[in-house]
């Protein structure tokens, strides 16, 4: 998280921190593991009142930022979500709200999402491989669009009232995004399994789903660029959340190292362990720095943003999980029990490592950026 927050940002962050501390302590999270939604709808509405859903939405559409960079502010919420392993579809809801606002689409749906009364999720295959492509096909039928296909690993699919579906155009290479009410005939969702206690994922099937052309978000066939922007927003928020989870696990483990005695000495006095803490702290601070920088770069639309986002995702994916695994090792047996809180954070970084591109997939993506620069250099 940013080293130097403005007073307003600090206040905003503290408010979310206090709310999460009070509403979703670890015992509550444990109880939510069998809850179909993973979160309580009243909790989500109250979070929305705190500003969780409105930061990427323009003022004209009822949103607003704390600083001038809404994504940076949303990153603060995501960071607190990570620090508390908090429930709720934060990243996907924000990405969809941003898209609706940007394209001036479905104002009623957006209003519901902003207030927390309803949930809209982002329905595209998980980004990762360079060969990524939509798995739902859209075809024109008069003034309607007909969708066919299936999307897996959709966050809060079963809880969403609306789905922002990314489709490829039938018989072409164009990409189109469509906002589909979850109750539309032909839309079915099936739950999937995951290791996170409170996050839910599902498979959404589109069987000849007919929606009016007015359901499109952005231009027909030309949504590839906006989908990439959404990916980047999503990754930035997932990263911020992972960094929060890393911080919580690290803090908890440093405290443990001071309190836990073995052979008459605190763990924190053993050089072999101190050195591992030094490595962990380096990973943690590097993750903070890269997460913040990539978030600011996407918010500002910097030229190097895409590469920095991939670097952050690769690094935090790899070292976020390594850090919490090492924290587990430092705890010994208690660290792998359900009773201990550490796994709440391990679950969070584990899911985030796999989502939206593994470290290896982002390495490949970064190398493709270098290819492009080399080609430009050769052409120049």
């Amino acid at each position: 998280m940013l080293l130097n927050l403005s007073e307003d940002q600090q206040f905003f962050r503290d408010t979310t921190d206090r709310f999460l501390t009070e509403q979703v302590p670890p015992d509550t999270l444990r109880q939510l593991r069998h809850d179909p939604a993973g979160y309580d709808s009243a909790y989500w509405r109250r979070g929305a009142e705190l500003g969780w859903t409105s930061l990427l939405v323009s003022e004209a559409h009822g949103g607003g930022t704390i600083s001038d960079a809404g994504l940076v502010d949303a990153g603060l919420v995501a960071y607190e979500f990570g620090r508390h392993a908090a429930p709720g579809p934060l990243a996907v809801v924000n990405v969809v709200a941003a898209a609706l606002s940007e394209h001036d689409a479905a104002p009623d749906v957006l209003a519901g999402v902003l207030s927390g009364e309803s949930v809209a999720t982002w329905c595209a295959p998980p980004f990762g491989s360079l060969r990524w492509e939509p798995t739902v096909e859209a075809s024109r039928s008069g003034n309607d669009l007909v969708l066919r296909g299936e999307v897996a690993i959709v966050e809060s699919a079963g809880q969403a009232d609306h789905l922002l579906v990314t489709c490829r155009d039938q018989g072409g290479t164009g990409v189109t995004q469509v906002l589909v009410p979850a109750t539309t005939p032909g839309v079915t969702t099936a739950p999937m399994h995951t290791v996170d206690l409170t996050r839910r994922f599902g498979i959404v099937t589109f069987d000849e789903v007919t929606v009016p052309a007015s359901a499109m978000v952005g231009l027909a066939g030309e949504a590839a660029l906006q989908v990439h922007r959404q990916f980047e927003q999503l990754i930035v928020l997932l990263n911020a959340e992972s960094v929060g989870a890393m911080q919580a696990a690290f803090d908890m483990t440093v405290e443990w190292a001071f309190d836990r005695y073995s052979f008459g000495r605190p763990l924190a006095s053993y050089q072999a362990l101190k050195h591992r803490f030094a490595d962990m702290y380096m990973w943690l601070q590097s993750s903070h720095a890269t997460s913040d920088a990539s978030c600011a770069a996407v918010a500002a639309g910097d030229a190097g943003a895409a590469e920095l986002v991939s670097a952050a995702k690769a690094y935090i994916g790899e070292y976020g999980a390594e850090l919490v695994q090492d924290c587990t090792q430092m705890h010994g047996g208690i660290g792998v029990t359900f009773e201990h809180d550490l796994h709440l954070f391990l679950r969070r970084v584990t899911v985030n490592r796999a989502l939206a591109g593994t470290p290896e997939e982002h390495h490949q993506r970064i190398t493709a950026f270098i290819d492009a620069r080399e080609r430009e250099g050769a052409a120049a």
Binding site: L3, N4, V254, A257, F258, P266, A268, S269, Q271, K274, H275, F277, A278, D279, Y281, M282, Q285, S286, H288, A289, T290, D292, A293, E307, L308, S310, A311, A312, A314, Y315, P359, E360, H362, H363, Q364, R365, I366, T367, I370, D371, E374
Partner: protein, 425 residues
């Protein structure tokens, strides 16, 4: 001084004006260099070429001085510009893609000039800082000794007072380029009856004098850049002492801090994109290309990983720099950047060697893979030089995270009674 220097220190030159001025200087006076040329320059082992480069670096530094672009964050009274860290960043951006006076930067401007600026007397500062900023004096750190690298406060080089002067005896090592440098900043023991940290004093001395013998050390990669100096009855006037007698560790602590902060120092120029370490991914990429492995998924994973490390270290250095400047982090947090650099260089060198495949075992003249094998031999150097990564881990865990310090046998006893390697007795 030109007419440009009329504003008061409260009204700094605007960043935009500064950028224009820097850009015009760079484009008018400097040669464009590719990263490949710079890499070659850094790795060449030819003395004549090295001396020519040093001469060119001094010349560029003088031109910078004359153009009011030397010592951006040094005070004006000592020949600097009295500008901000932001101005230095602009200069780093404007230098990108051009030659720059690499050999004037580290350790001359920092840590050496930084230490003189902080602890020198007015006379010392007036004598040396302008000369440094003009490229007339290149400095070396006479810090490490053969008896112990990371334990710099365990210095055995001894200075004995003789009226208004000191007589120094001992040996220093790992000075890179001492054979073409002018001055040494030297940590010496002035009191063997005090505990280790309370009997040290810092001096400055000219390197090229009869009583200083400079030996060049051949490294396992063929480089002969590093030197060892043998000092025999070297006379140093008391006016060349830096800081108080037996207060050398007060100086030394800040000296070490500047050393750890080199990757984000306001006193050092590092062109964006040419900065040390920022070519890591490109090296791996070039090897993959030269060996037809650009379509190999493993090679591409390695290239991407190298690029991640170089992007992340820049962000970490920026965060730690900001944290230390704003007081949000302790000075000791600079150890984080040092640790990252050491471990990531090792990793990147391994990635490059992997991508070279069998060509890392034997090669023909001109093959890019040659460097990957030679660099692999020197892989650990990045985790050793400037304080080992183990030291950095101690600093981070003890001084930043506040964990209990290691038990030490060199505390609160006269230094002469501290156990040390039998060979140094």
């Amino acid at each position: 001084m030109s007419a440009l220097r009329v504003e008061t220190s409260e009204e700094l030159e605007s960043l935009e004006d500064f950028r224009q001025r820097a850009r015009s200087f760079v484009q008018t006076n400097l040669r464009r260099v590719t990263p490949e040329e710079l890499r070659w320059e850094r790795n060449n082992n030819d003395d004549e070429a090295e001396l020519a480069t040093v001469a060119r670096d001094r010349e560029i530094q003088r031109m910078l001085f004359d153009a009011d672009l030397a010592g951006i964050c040094f005070p004006r009274e000592y020949g600097g510009q009295g500008l901000s860290h932001e101005h230095q960043k602009v200069l780093n951006e404007e230098f990108a893609g051009y030659e720059y006076p690499l050999r004037v930067q580290i350790p001359t401007l920092s840590p050496c000039a930084a230490v003189i600026l902080e602890f020198g007397t007015e006379e010392q500062k007036l004598r040396h800082l302008p000369a440094i900023l003009k490229g007339e004096e290149l400095w070396m750190q006479f810090l490490s000794e053969p008896s112990g690298g990371s334990d710099v406060a365990g210095a055995l080089t001894t200075a004995v007072r003789d009226g208004e002067q000191w007589i120094l005896n001992g040996s220093k090592v790992w000075t890179s380029g001492a054979w073409w440098s002018d001055w040494g900043l030297c940590l010496a023991r002035t009191n063997w009856d005090q505990p280790k940290h309370r009997g040290l004093t810092v001096f400055m001395l000219p390197i090229h004098q009869p009583n200083v013998e400079v030996h060049r050390i051949e490294m396992n990669n063929g480089s002969r850049e590093f030197c060892q100096e043998f000092m025999t009855d070297v006379i140093v006037p008391d006016t060349d002492r830096v800081g108080g007698v037996d207060e050398g560790w007060t100086v030394g602590t800040r000296w070490m801090f500047h050393e750890r902060m080199l990757y984000n120092s306001s006193l050092v120029t590092e062109p964006v994109g040419l900065a040390h370490g920022s070519q890591d991914a490109k090296i791996v990429y070039d090897i993959a290309r030269a060996h037809g492995r650009l379509d190999d998924a493993t090679a591409r994973d390695h290239i991407g990983e190298a690029r991640v490390l170089e992007l992340v270290v820049n962000q970490l250095a920026g965060r730690v720099g900001e944290g230390v400047r704003t007081g949000r982090m302790s000075d000791q947090a600079a150890g984080l950047v040092r640790l990252f650099k050491g471990t990531s260089v090792s990793r990147v060198v391994t990635l490059a060697f992997n991508v070279a495949g069998a060509s890392g075992a034997a090669w023909t003249e001109g093959d890019t893979a040659a460097m990957s094998a030679i660099n692999f031999l020197m892989r650990q150097a990045g985790s050793i030089g400037g304080g080992t990564t183990e030291m950095a881990r101690n600093v981070i865990s003890e001084r930043v995270l506040g964990m209990p310090r290691e038990r030490r046998l060199d505390k609160d006893v006269p230094f002469r009674d501290v156990p040390r390697s039998p060979s140094t007795k």
